[in-house]
Symmetry: C2
Subunit: 334 residues, 2 copies
């Protein structure tokens, strides 16, 4: 295991120590629990937005807490859900009288804990709405979208909902826009290597050299096909052949593209991938608006990438183009 | 080779295609040569700053071209210098009547080509100054600093010089500040895995499992010691034991810290590393100002990281805190 760490059981907490030390003016924790992270910037009367999930996916989840994005985040151990009590505590902290939106990915443990926290928050008279993002077309067929896993495309829901809340829209509107963004995104990825769980000291699944797992999830959930490793262009074409008909995305549409590195794949390769995505979309008459290339949702040392497409309309474009600032993600007004 | 690419010989040009497609409003190329990249934003009368070097280090070098940073960049093949003619062409393009600064790392091929370009530019009556950055304390002992390789610490010279030029300082001042920033930075890294050269299909050096190469360069230049892989804290302590006495950095100093991932190392681990750096500096009475944690100078799929420290004074702090905006690096005014 060629990793930089101390005791594996301290992996998450030492990572968190580093984050608070590196970004002392932007984020802080509450209740002496480092896994309950909130933004240092608050705005009275603004809808609070909370996300959460397992560790091991930086900048997901806590990297999106900050101005113009989210207000708080709870994280669990590597690939483990945070607890409902942690979520409740962060809910109380970020509620500024306008209610709180829970916005997270479609995983059983997270749903259970966010649901429980919502019930408890409502007993304390805090209005809570939930949007559960599921954008991975490889995880369940069209027609059963509600079974799809949330992967990197959740970035778009964060961005749109965060800008909506920052614009002081009411909870029902922030919820509607988060759901709309989520409904307008499709993603799919490919894994070239497994990732190492620090406490195990090894991967909990394997990918042979010279092979790839098309559609694999960010926790190593099996994809739709194990195949020999193809060229970047062939892989992009195959992924787009699943994504494009699913929404569908058609001639005349305008999209934002996110090419997301899973952790160990160099930026050079992400741009090689982006090039092909852009060329295929151009051939199909689909135009590009403000693309993103980099690491947005990772699996530690997993090699591979995912492609997400957000289908835009003027409303989504407006919120996508607004500025935001977190320790991990900065955007100027477009 | 678990990499995402098409024909290895197209690696650099397809990567460049992706960059121009993803960031069409921020960067462009000249002379139909994609390896000659310039900023789309120009400012009459501003000193132009150019960097360059081999490919395979994103966001180095071309990722630092943009507002408040650099004006142009020439890149060669993977780990290869650009040509003097390419540098000359970019020099002519970014010269706005105030002269041009060449700011790049201390590697033989780059020095030869930038030197030749400088001579040719001067024959065309363009004033050119050069600052060659060498921050890697592992590459040559104290007393022969001019033999040191330039690694991630060059980011600080880019940032300071870029802000100085953006402030419309004259060439001699931009040169002085670039040199001052470079003189105030020390870096050292550790490699945990080699990197794969796409055209070779394999690494051109090796690191055994369970071992590390302390002080290895970003092209795989041998470091100061091959050792068994230690804990993150032990590695940080050893690196700082080389960096701190070298400048030296002492009690009462204020520094900016850059923890740079070499490509395949997860952000989680970079924060574990940052935590230890911050704690050691605090123990020594050295205070922190605006730290950076992420990928700033990589070697494709190499695992490992480097630590850079910039010793600040009020002048450097002023330019470090100014805003800048490139496709790869965005900073708001601090």
């Amino acid at each position: 295991m060629q990793r930089l760490l101390n005791r594996p059981q301290d992996y998450v907490d030492e990572m968190l120590d580093g984050i608070y030390l590196a970004h002392p003016t932007q984020v802080k924790f509450i209740n002496e629990d480092k896994r309950c992270l909130v933004s240092s910037k608050t705005k009275e009367g603004k809808v609070g937005i909370i996300t959460g999930g397992g560790s091991g996916h930086l900048p997901l989840f806590l990297g999106y807490v900050g101005e113009g994005l989210l207000d708080g985040c709870c994280i669990g151990g590597v690939f483990q859900s945070p607890s409902s009590m942690q979520i409740l505590d962060v809910t109380k902290e970020v509620n500024r009288g306008a209610g709180v939106l829970y916005l997270y990915g479609n995983y059983g443990g997270d749903i259970m804990n966010f649901d429980m926290a919502k019930d408890m928050a409502e007993m304390e008279s805090i209005e809570v709405r939930q949007v559960v993002a599921g954008d991975d077309v490889a995880s369940s067929p069209k027609g059963s979208e509600n079974k799809r896993r949330g992967v990197a495309g959740i970035f778009y829901a964060f961005k749109i909902a965060g800008a909506a809340a920052e614009s002081m829209l009411p909870l029902a509107e922030v919820e509607r826009l988060a759901q709309k963004a989520s409904d307008h995104v499709r993603s799919m990825g490919v894994a070239l290597t497994p990732c190492t769980i620090p406490e195990l000291g090894k991967a909990n699944f394997s990918i042979s050299d010279g092979e790839m797992d098309l559609g694999m999830g960010i926790h190593g959930e099996p994809g739709i096909k194990v195949d020999k490793l193809k060229t970047a262009d062939e892989i992009v074409d195959e992924i787009l052949s699943h994504i494009l008909p699913d929404l569908p995305y058609s001639k005349g549409d305008e999209v934002s593209v996110l090419v997301n590195g899973l952790g160990a794949t160099p930026k050079e390769e992400l741009y090689i991938v982006f090039r092909r995505v852009a060329n295929v979309l151009a051939e199909k008459g689909i135009s590009l608006y403000n693309s993103y290339v980099g690491e947005f949702a990772t699996s530690m040392d997993m090699a591979g990438m995912s492609i997400s497409l957000l289908k835009l309309d003027s409303e989504l474009k407006n919120y996508l183009s607004m500025p935001c600032s977190t320790p991990f993600f900065l955007q100027n007004q477009i």
